[in-house]
Symmetry: C2
């Protein structure tokens, strides 16, 4: 079969107008604590269930974005949202009271980049004046859905990652100011044959490699042209694999590469094994840390590549593998 | 809170180039049998599990679309896909071998309209030359995920709908020929307080009403301006509710309204209670019946409004409600 190059979309009229993040206790105790807009210390915020708590994180992240932009929800034309829960319920229940036209997306932990890509595309093409992209994850709702009930106390292997309890939201519009969203490349589904739901990083590394390579080719750019190449949540295992894959092409990507999964928590003091994961991991690192630095010009050109493991417990139980996907979004301060 | 009108997107450069549908045995025994591209008589097609079978339906639908267009997968810039299964696995596993840039979407049974809306937007704006939208559903995989294991033999109440075993796919590009995709309106999440997972129609009717009304307002059109207003799978209960909601505005929509859920099966001879449902229901009716008639000019102006019940068993078990959503896409022969 012929190799499908796809396209990299170019944007001239899309900026991140405002951004916000809401995180749980452990996330705020990590190296980037203090940079988030709101911390929900008991990870529940008065909700009755973990699912409702995750919805609350998403609702609050969008609330902060609107407040910062001094806009009421009726001024937003479109919202792209998705999450890890079955039927993306954190999004639908978290956002229904805003009553904003809603397009649900699913890309596992790549969801934040998919939302950014689509929100920027719709604003850049003039379909929407203002579009929001938002996502979330929650350790407790994810763990019980994908692995074991929390009370079971299952042992986590070293390759396991820790699902972030966090949400991040951005409002995209044409402000003429940074952070500018300049380009985006949609990922393909890559199946590396991994079938261990405690080794997500390995399942996603190939997808990140493919998307990044295509993005560089289409943009005529090289990893060294970027201040940073930020992956979503490859963690320790996946990051090493990504470096190896680029090394085969003679490219040393390590010096420019940061992984949100290796940043959100302090792996030496926090018991997160191979790093953080979940849609909220890269969303909160982007909205709580990186976007500020692009806005200020400290970072001039950044490639954000969120990675997702398209894992299903049903398929795993049937002996299937975990395909990965990754979407890339290029942001600049100029 | 201020009422959010949202926007209706207009398209001048988007047509359905080819379309295809693959259905199961019961669907082909319904009133529109014989119009589908392929029938998988045992609903399984050699797959080991129902989930794999559903993936196969989707893979085949895309295969037919490519074959009709005489294109190899590498000529497709983008594919929008989603389905009812947790983590949308019919889509990811069904499509991964095509290796086409993939954007996952989730809108429950409204997914086909969401895919059409986004594929047309991306082609119309010039981001993609060719984009596919595809979705599927399968009675056996849906029933065991959302309700009871098949072997349990649960009794279905009269309001229950029958999930279609079917897939539909369209290839969108600028052909300059009908069916033209002219406009689309993204829906909002509407929660009517329904908490009965055997009464999806009632959960979705309010969303359909809201989206259709906004579409008419933005287009300056009236239900009588359309040859048909086609809803996805409101079924008997939801269709009656939709008629009632419009009747309150003094609009008799019945004469123009058709519901795919009431068309796919023959309710007098097939035991489907309140009608068909599932992402594949409206997708197969559109691709197996309506698009041909728009292409030929027999139908000149059609408004397709697929409806989704954003139901989650977890949330239902926690005492939550089932919010609905509906997206509208306007198609013309001229």
């Amino acid at each position: 079969m012929e190799y499908c190059a796809g396209k990299t979309f170019r944007y001239d009229h899309a900026s991140v107008q405002t951004y916000a993040s809401v995180v749980g206790k452990a996330e705020n105790e990590g190296p980037y604590g203090g940079g988030f807009d709101e911390v929900i210390d008991d990870n529940k915020g008065g909700a009755d269930t973990w699912e409702q708590a995750e919805s609350l994180f998403q609702k609050k992240a969008v609330g902060h974005v609107l407040q910062k932009a001094r806009l009421s929800p009726d001024k937003i034309d479109l919202i792209f949202a998705g999450d890890l829960l079955n039927q993306c319920v954190s999004s639908s229940y978290g956002l229904k009271d805003y009553y904003i036209p809603f397009l649900g997306i699913y890309g596992a932990c790549s969801t934040f980049a998919e939302g950014l890509l689509l929100a920027a595309a719709m604003v850049n093409a003039g379909y929407a004046d203002r579009a929001i992209a938002v996502t979330s994850s929650h350790f407790s709702s994810a763990e019980r859905q994908f692995r074991f009930p929390l009370n079971y106390g299952g042992i986590r292997p070293p390759t396991a990652q820790w699902t972030a309890t966090a949400s991040g939201a951005v409002l995209v519009s044409e402000t003429g100011k940074p952070p500018f969203i300049r380009a985006a490349t949609a990922g393909k589904i890559e199946d590396m044959g991994v079938n261990d739901q405690n080794n997500m990083g390995a399942a996603m590394a190939g997808a990140a490699y493919d998307t990044l390579k295509r993005h560089f080719t289409h943009m005529g750019s090289h990893p060294q042209d970027y201040d940073l190449i930020i992956t979503g949540d490859l963690g320790l295992v996946g990051s090493d694999l990504l470096h190896d894959l680029f090394a085969r092409d003679g490219i040393a990507i390590e010096s420019r590469h940061k992984d949100c999964g290796l940043m959100l928590f302090d792996r030496s003091t926090q018991d997160v094994h191979a790093g953080g994961s979940g849609c909220g991991c890269s969303a909160s690192m982007m909205c709580g840390h990186f976007l500020k630095r692009i806005e200020s010009g400290e970072l001039k050109r950044v490639l954000f590549c969120a990675t997702g493991a398209l894992m299903s417990t049903t398929v795993i139980q049937q002996g299937g593998t975990i395909p990965g996907i990754a979407h890339a979004v290029e942001l600049t301060s100029y």
